[in-house]
Point group: C2
């Protein structure tokens, strides 16, 4: 039997640094648990642009299609701000999502007990918070045609199109219902059906899938603006939230920030099952490339480590090992270990990126 395969794309900024710590975890699994992964590595984002003039080389794209899972660090940075829209580092990420057809973006928003004080919210509002936002990731306004900047008379006009098909909505709804069954059994679907026809279709299809296939799950609907409010007011009312690409972008980022654990949060982007039954999958931390602290050993590797934990759970069927890794992270935090982003308490000296990785390995 062949080992499960993993393509590592460290990317830009702090990407390579946090990825080095995941390598330690992978090594631990190999030597201590006899679970070997076939790991390969390649460029993405600005790093790929610097070498190839494109944020994602065709060879890398092909490799990503073949492996069991892709783990990505982060893309972008000020160095690339002035680039043409079509070669921006983000385009590499968007191409991966689109060509691998990773339609379900899983964004856990979880508050780590040891870090509840970092939230801007009151402790009782966030302590114990654990919600899952499922964001549609391969359609909607980021991808729809027509798009572009055109000239009309002597005016420029910027155009983007939101297009959602029935099947695109149905499949991401199914992902949300499946997840809910393993969690709190509640799904809240968010759109703007009061003012957008794509939202009307969204609500209708989610309702149809619910009635036909998941009547046992509790389903509610909320306008996305009200959803933004409710997330800020009392996020614990939610279990699984399912929403489109654009709303999901804002809502999942807001929810992540609310937990106080922003630098700590992982994500998974899943597609349809491959021949081996595993879903196409890409895992990445929620945080960006943080160019301001890159190369200084200050970055927090936990989000990337927890992204690998999600890979263990969703790609490698190693749920118990994922639990174990997550427990190790909680342990390290409970012990008071903090990278510089998590300071605030008096008298705590920060540990470096590498020391944090070592501590997690030690706790395993």
């Amino acid at each position: 039997m062949t080992n499960p395969s993993l393509l590592i794309l460290p990317g830009d900024g702090i990407g390579p640094e946090v990825m080095a710590e995941v390598r330690k975890i992978i090594e631990w699994f190999g030597t201590k648990r006899n679970m070997a992964f076939d790991v390969s590595e390649d460029l993405v984002g600005g790093a790929a642009y610097d070498k190839h003039g494109t944020p994602l080389h065709d060879d890398t794209m092909a490799k990503a299609q073949e492996v069991d899972a892709v783990l990505l660090g982060a893309v972008g940075g000020p160095k690339y701000e002035a680039l043409d829209f079509s070669v921006k580092p983000e385009r590499g990420l968007l191409r991966l999502r689109k060509e691998m057809d990773l339609f379900a973006n899983l964004r856990p928003a979880q508050c780590f007990d040891a870090l509840a004080d970092f939230s801007s919210l009151k402790k009782d509002v966030v302590a114990g918070l654990d919600i899952m936002i499922v964001r549609e990731l391969t359609s909607g306004i980021y991808f729809g045609e027509p798009r572009g900047i055109i000239k009309e008379g002597n005016e420029r006009v910027g155009i983007n199109t939101q297009r959602y098909t029935e099947s695109e909505i149905a499949r991401v709804a199914r992902s949300a219902f499946e997840l809910a069954r393993k969690r709190g059994n509640k799904v809240c679907s968010m759109e703007k059906a009061n003012v957008m026809e794509s939202g009307v279709l969204w609500r209708d299809v989610v309702t149809e899938v619910h009635q036909a296939e998941y009547p046992d799950v509790e389903l509610s609907h909320m306008y996305a603006d009200a959803g933004a409010m409710q997330l800020c007011r009392w996020p614990k009312q939610f279990d699984v939230i399912v929403t489109d690409n654009l709303f999901g972008d804002l809502l999942s980022d807001a929810a992540a920030m609310l937990t106080g654990s922003l630098g700590m949060l992982p994500s998974a982007s899943l597609g349809a099952p491959m021949a081996n039954g595993r879903p196409k999958a890409l895992y990445e931390p929620v945080h960006g490339s943080a160019p301001d602290i890159a190369g200084q050993g200050k970055a927090n590797p936990i989000a990337c480590i927890l992204s690998f934990a999600m890979a263990l759970r969703y790609s490698f069927d190693l749920g118990a090992e994922a639990d174990r890794l997550e427990a190790a992270v909680e342990q390290v935090l409970a012990d008071g270990k903090r990278t510089a982003d998590l300071l605030g308490e008096e008298g705590v000296t920060p540990v470096s990126t590498g020391e944090m990785g070592d501590a997690v390995v030690a706790a395993l």
Copy 2:
């Protein structure tokens, strides 16, 4: 000289109740300050649909075009949920915005000292918060064509289009810069220029207007997802935020909720100057029609009263009177008067909608 004219559209749910309290304020201005307004009243939303089969009758639309300012309560309710998309109560509001061309939606997010405890955020994060979100209101994805639900093969497809012209962006940017000059002199513009061409044009045009006309104002740009995060983390970093219709919908609602003063917040929607120099204008509370508490005397009239204060400031050139009315509201809150939505403190008995209105009049 003719009196300034005001069209009152109470709408649905608690709309009529809160509007009754504004009438008391208007009366006070007439009798005590000798400032008479020509007030007329009409139907909008579900109320208009019930009578005319349309959420906004043409006669009402015509009247709205003629007056100096429109004051609206709220539209919608569960009774109208099953209506066809084209006659939903919200369509009345959208038609007013579009035909009056009210492109600049001013959404103050302000934390009232006496109410800081109602925020889900920590007190130091919100105390003293005072930001202004300027949302583009007549274009973007709520209005762009093509739109609708079409059939492709045997699939339904939901379509909406975002279209922003240069001049649409420039005029709302100007509104934001003008407001900033009277406040903290800072504007932050939010879009997704990394993934949407309409966002690229948005950023370019805001930058051009800034350089050509407002170089004295401090301008920054932020991706809207990062903006959602920063609003939740440390909202006091902002002074004026300018953003498009869709992002503005979510961001302004989230910001309103963060202040803890949601039921308290007003809004103004302004268009181009009319022949008399006054901008076309519609004022409305941020809260909805709250059908669950309608008719029970529980509604908080303050948001609607403060919307009238915005009318005094932006439509009637009565800035000092607006200040006076706002101070009266603060006074009443500091005195401990609370409608039922603001309970929470032990031993406080709520006042009714009418008692709250009377208290504000008494404090004037």
